[in-house]
């Protein structure tokens, strides 16, 4: 496995993160002076090179036997204080390799796409700087060998997300959305930090390997500490991966440029929570309670977000809610013990959701910025390639065989049925139905039916340039083929990832994946889920193609419910009323009453009291000499009297 230089590519893992960093620095410092094309090349090359290194790393890793596929490289001590050590080091194992491949692979395509998409923008270099910085942070997140370093990446991607959502900072809604994203993420990070603290206090280290090795010996299954750690970590995951109750930032995040939505808010960053849960699967399996919580939250989010997606009219918002819903699926899988299934869905989802977002971006680009689906329609003939790729993506997410989404989603449902209960399966199945419906609703409203575009828009609607179409095609291919990674009988990904799960030889009730499931059950489940998807598609077809008046009728009949869903269950408003406003009001009270009136009032009162006393005392200072003389004499007499009386 050594090449002629005597080192493996595993040793060069640092380059995976170094290239994006270099890209960031070059574009950040020199970008203003460089031409747009150079900036674009630098940005793409950084990620492309990183992807190539990642590929070689994968190859090197495959040469090792499955049990030894863990490689750690430590660079320097980042923070060292007393017994606490945080070492900056990278860890390569199957899980992180899968992640870096997804991040750099999909990331590369989106970079390429961005060249075309953002070409008109004045701050082209700034965009690529941020994008490279994001990739850098994301890679640190997945490659980190300890919790604290992971937290750097974790917050780093949050920062980039903030910067990129607010990329068009002159738009008030964009900058507000960026801020919201960061702050909601911070709420999650609150849990993450506490989890890290608790982990250190419990295990005396924050290194992944050591923690996971020590965990089964230190903690009982179902112990409170394990539950607390995992729940706190999950709070972080909930924030980052936009689950109930912290999902509200993600739909707003669609204010950012579309490629950003595709990369950060669909394919990579938002799935970091899933990655983290899978990474810590050893801990999670120690706490059945947390697992249930994860599953319930995941399932509930899947259903809840899907229901909102049904009625949204903004093309990107539909996709955003679908992202939330799909990540809910992943958590559902993880919560039921199917960590690998979760990762598998993460990968396929990265392909098809990036594809869908990029496709929608292509549509938006073609329409000159229009995002409202009610003003689209019949785009099939104007943008054929976009249409085809988008159709593939839709089929994939709806779960039609043999597209990628089918396999992963089906496995999750299977997992839910075998390991969970009918309840979880029901959640998943209904969500799947809704997904198929709203995705095809989106497809039909956008590409089929009559054109509802305004004249001006219709005149210059066009197919997108090659730099946009190329990534679409590649991703479409991946969406078709990606599922075979986890094809039930081949199950490449299962075998590859198996060592990561339950590392430390802990007896895993959930670790074995679906091998023991009888093939009968498996195929019948496949049939059912396909059936569900088809039902959804048919309903969508009926409502939006054959009888377009139907949605209006239904909306009218169930006006109350419709309004609630259309307004996203008023969750934003509820949060505003329960958290934001009271906090601000309390702050105002603290400032204007406690600070100014009470504390400062007290201080000023002391001052005023002194002045007041002086006001009284100064009356004795008449300025009349004879008064002073009188006082002197009086004082003298008093002294004499005293001396007579007391001496």
């Amino acid at each position: 496995m050594l090449n002629q230089f005597g080192i493996t590519f595993l040793d060069l893992i640092g380059f995976v993160i170094l290239f994006p960093l270099a890209g960031t620095i070059i574009n950040g410092f020199l970008g203003k002076r460089l031409s747009k094309s150079i900036v674009g090349y630098v940005g793409c090359a950084a990620i492309g090179l990183s992807f190539i290194v990642a590929l070689f790393v994968l190859l090197d890793l495959l040469k090792l036997s499955p049990e030894h596929r863990v490689f750690e490289k430590e660079y320097f001590t980042w923070i060292g204080s007393g017994a606490f050590r945080a070492i900056a080091g990278l860890q390569v194992d199957p899980l992180s390799v899968v992640m870096i491949l997804v991040v750099t692979g999909v990331g590369f395509l989106i970079h390429v796409y961005s060249i075309g998409y953002m070409h008109e923008d004045k701050s082209f270099y700034r965009y690529f700087t941020y994008l490279n910085l994001f990739t850098f942070s994301m890679l640190i997140l997945v490659l980190a060998n300890n919790f604290l370093l992971m937290f750097i990446g974790w917050e780093g991607v949050g920062l980039c997300s903030y910067l990129l959502i607010g990329f068009w900072f002159e738009k008030k809604s964009a900058s507000a959305a960026g801020m919201k994203a960061f702050i909601v993420n911070r709420v999650g990070d609150f849990g993450f930090i506490l989890a890290i603290l608790l982990i250190f206090v419990t295990f005396g280290t924050i290194d992944f390997t050591e923690v996971f090795h020590a965990a089964p010996e230190h903690l009982q299954i179902g112990s409170i500490v394990a539950a607390t750690i995992t729940l706190l970590l999950f709070v972080g995951a909930v924030g980052k991966s936009a689950q109930i109750p912290l999902y509200t930032w993600l739909p707003d995040a669609m204010e950012g440029p579309t490629p950003v939505s595709a990369l950060i808010h669909a394919a990579t960053m938002v799935t970091a929570g899933v990655y983290m849960v899978v990474r810590c699967n050893v801990l999670y399996t120690l706490s059945p309670f947390t697992m249930t919580v994860v599953a319930v939250i995941g399932g509930a989010t899947a259903l809840f977000a899907a229901s909102i997606g049904l009625v949204q009219n903004d093309i990107k918002r539909v996709l955003a809610y679908s992202t939330v819903s799909q990540i809910g699926y992943m958590f559902l899988a993880c919560g039921l013990g199917g960590f690998i299934t979760g990762v598998f869905h993460l990968v396929t989802h990265a392909f098809f959701k990036a594809l869908l977002f990029l496709g929608s971006g292509s549509v938006i680009h073609g329409l000159g910025g229009e995002q409202d689906m009610r003003k689209m329609g019949a785009l099939k003939k104007y943008m054929p390639i976009t249409y085809i790729t988008f159709f593939i993506g839709t089929l994939a997410i709806a779960g039609i065989p043999p597209f990628a989404g089918f396999f992963s989603k089906d496995e999750i449902l299977l997992e839910a049925y075998t390991k969970g209960s009918l309840f979880f399966w029901g959640l998943g199945a209904i969500a799947a139905l809704l997904t198929a419906f709203y995705m095809f609703r989106l497809l039909f409203m956008t590409f089929h039916g009559k054109s509802k575009m305004t004249k001006r828009v219709e005149e210059h609607v066009h197919e997108s340039p090659n730099s946009i179409l190329f990534p679409l095609i590649v991703l479409a291919v991946l969406s078709v083929l990606g599922g075979f990674l986890g094809f039930p009988t081949l199950s490449v990904i299962n075998e590859f990832l198996a060592p990561v799960i339950g590392a430390g030889h802990h007896g895993l009730a959930h670790g074995g994946e679906s091998h023991h499931v009888s093939s009968n059950l498996m195929f019948s489940m496949m049939g059912i889920s396909t059936g569900i998807a088809i039902v959804g598609i048919v309903v969508a077809y009926v409502m939006y193609i054959s009888r377009p008046e139907l949605p209006g009728v239904i909306a009218k009949r169930f006006k109350g419910i419709y309004n609630i869903i259309l307004n996203k269950y008023f969750v934003d408003e509820i949060y505003d009323a329960t958290f934001v406003k009271p906090t601000l009001r309390a702050s105002n009270i603290l400032w204007k009453v406690v600070d100014v009136k009470i504390i400062d009032g007290f201080v000023n009162a002391v001052g005023r009291l002194t002045v007041l006393k002086s006001e009284v005392l100064r009356l004795f200072q008449t300025g009349l000499v004879r008064n002073y003389a009188f006082s002197i004499m009086l004082g003298g007499i008093i002294i004499i009297i005293c001396s007579i009386l007391f001496l």
Binding site: F76, T77, W78, I79, G80, S81, G82, A83, F84, L148, F151, I152, W154, E155, G156, L159, Y162, G166, F169, E170, K171, K172, S175, A176, G178, M179, F182, I183, R186, V187, D189, F190, I193, L194, L197, L198, F200, V201, T202, G204, H218, L219, V225, T583, L584, A586, S587, N588, L590, W591, V594, D595, I599, D600, V603, G607
Partner: protein, 543 residues
């Protein structure tokens, strides 16, 4: 290390000589005065740099020590030296003073007097951090008050008189109490050993009776708590910051506030270990209250400087928390956080000052869309904001995290509450940033803004580099602190335990204090060990 050349003394008094030299220059020669002041500050900073390199990190002894009897009759000596705790504050001071003089380039009014005040202030501040003699310490402590008073009172904003008197009286009230306590220690040392001395290292060895510890601690506490400022002694800070000129704010936030926290570490803890332990509940809760309170109040400020000032209250709450959890992570985090706060908040004040110079307003509502006109400033502003928020990879995080870690080890509940400060800091800083820098330019005044010039770049760039350095590779700093902090904690701990055993407390308490110390590996978390009601403890002490 006993260096032959008295490097500390040179660094400390060079600015004073510079100030004296400036006296002989005519006030009209503004350029010349500015250049000379700057040159003095630069030379001073350069001379102070070898301290960092020559500092030996493997010893907890004071280094670069110089001890000369000054007033023998009263046992006052010129005893200076630094250890891992004061080293960085010393360097930070010489660095920020340089920045401040450069930041004051545009002052037109009485530039000579201004620069003299600045340089004298620098000597005072540097002196505080190196003094190992209580008298010397107190002298420097008061010395730096006067130029600061003048800087706010003469070159300040419209309400400067109110602010400056408030600042002065607040601080004096505290430091007078401290003077009484110092004298008490002085006479107590005489009573016990028959030697009159103000020497800190000798007074460290005193065995102070518990009742006296209680009152002495309180006296020192007020002096330092006001200086920090801890909630609820903080109200002088926003006023002083708002009225102070830019450089004044920077110095105030960057160095002066650190004197309080430094005082806690250098004096309160080692001198009164028992009282310090007794006060832990009260102080930690006050610190946490400060964190949350400062953050909440900062959120609704309309004035940029006030916002940053209240954020200081919040940040210094972390520092205090770190100091009073009595473990190495907390303490090192606290010290690091002092430096971080000096850098990031100092830089924020600089930036606010730059905006103010251009627009002559500090109201957030008057800004908006500034990024469009000032992209370079926006980058620096962003970095400072993020550093202040505590983004991992920047300096703020390292300190904050270590403090939280230390706190978590001693009291989980407080750590949890303190962590919410992390959320809140993001809220107020980003909201402010959004309103100032983002959105469309609505105010036509803002469309005429010019981006920062070279001088301003020279101000912000070094700070930014330091911010990244501390964020990414804080080891050179932490390793230099290690020995001193360890020594301090062990010292405090031993004294505390001897006191306890003398009091005849049972083994449990001893064990509890043992468990707080370093190098323990328990499998279970010790959830907030017997956090007694602070009021009850007070009552008990009084009896």
């Amino acid at each position: 290390m006993n260096c032959d050349c008295p490097i500390l003394t040179i660094v400390t008094f060079l600015p004073l000589f510079g100030a004296i030299f400036l006296l002989f220059i005519k006030g009209e020669e503004q350029e010349k005065i500015k250049r000379i002041a700057l040159a003095v500050a630069i030379i001073d900073f350069i001379i102070s740099l070898p301290l960092f390199i020559l500092f030996k990190s493997d010893t907890s002894e004071f280094q670069f020590v110089q001890s000369v009897p000054w007033i023998k009759e009263f046992g006052i000596s010129y005893h200076v030296g630094i250890d891992g705790i004061s080293l960085f504050l010393f360097l930070l001071t010489s660095f920020l003073s340089l920045i401040c003089i450069l930041a004051s380039w545009n002052i037109k009014d009485r530039i000579k007097e201004y620069m003299i005040a600045m340089l004298v202030l620098q000597t005072g501040m540097l002196g505080v951090f190196i003094s190992l003699d209580l008298f010397l310490f107190y002298m420097f402590w008061e010395l730096m008050l006067i130029p600061m008073y003048l800087i706010i009172g003469v070159w300040g904003g419209p309400r400067r008189i109110y602010a400056t008197i408030k600042f002065f009286v607040y601080t004096m009230a505290g430091s007078v109490l401290m003077l009484v306590a110092i004298l008490f220690l002085y006479f107590m040392h005489y009573n016990e050993t028959g030697e009159y001395t103000f020497d800190l290292l000798k007074i460290y060895n005193l065995d102070i009776p518990l009742g006296a510890q209680f009152w002495l601690f309180l006296a020192f506490f007020f002096a330092f708590a006001i200086k920090v400022p801890m909630f609820p002694f903080h109200t002088w800070l926003p006023d002083a910051h708002v009225e102070a000129p830019t450089a004044g704010s920077v110095i105030l936030a960057g160095v002066l506030l650190k004197m309080g926290t430094y005082g806690f570490v250098r004096f309160s803890l080692p001198l009164f270990p028992y009282a310090s332990h007794q006060f832990v509940p009260l102080i930690t809760w006050l610190a946490v209250a400060g964190i949350i309170y400062g953050a909440l109040v900062a959120m609704v400020q309309e004035d940029l400087k006030k916002l940053v000032a209240y954020s200081s209250v919040s940040h210094l709450g972390f520092v205090i928390l770190g100091i009073f959890v009595f473990n190495i992570q907390g303490m090192e985090g606290g010290i690091l956080q002092m430096i971080n706060h000096g850098l990031s908040t100092g830089a924020l004040f600089l930036i606010v000052g730059m905006l103010y110079e251009r627009r002559h307003t500090r109201l957030i509502a008057d800004y908006g869309g500034v990024t469009k006109k000032m992209p370079i400033l926006a980058i620096f502003f962003m970095v400072m904001t993020l550093s202040s928020i505590g983004l991992p990879g920047l300096n703020g995080f390292v300190g904050e995290f270590l403090v939280l870690l230390g706190t978590f080890k001693s009291n989980v509940l407080i750590a949890v509450i303190a962590t919410t400060g992390v959320i809140l800091s993001a809220c107020y800083m980003l909201w402010m940033f959004q309103r100032v820098m983002f959105n469309k330019i609505t105010n036509p005044e803002n469309s005429k803004l010019k981006d920062i010039n070279r001088r301003e770049l020279a101000l912000l760039l070094p700070i930014t580099i330091l911010i990244f350095w501390i964020g990414i590779y804080p080891k050179p700093l932490l390793s230099r602190m290690d020995a001193s902090v360890n020594h301090l904690l062990t010292q405090v701990d031993e004294k505390y335990k001897t006191t306890l055993s003398r009091l005849g407390k049972n083994e449990d308490v001893l064990l509890a204090s043992e468990s707080k110390r370093e190098d323990y590996k328990t499998s279970e978390v010790r959830i907030s060990e017997s956090s007694q009601n602070p009021v009850k403890r007070l009552i008990k002490l009084w009896k």
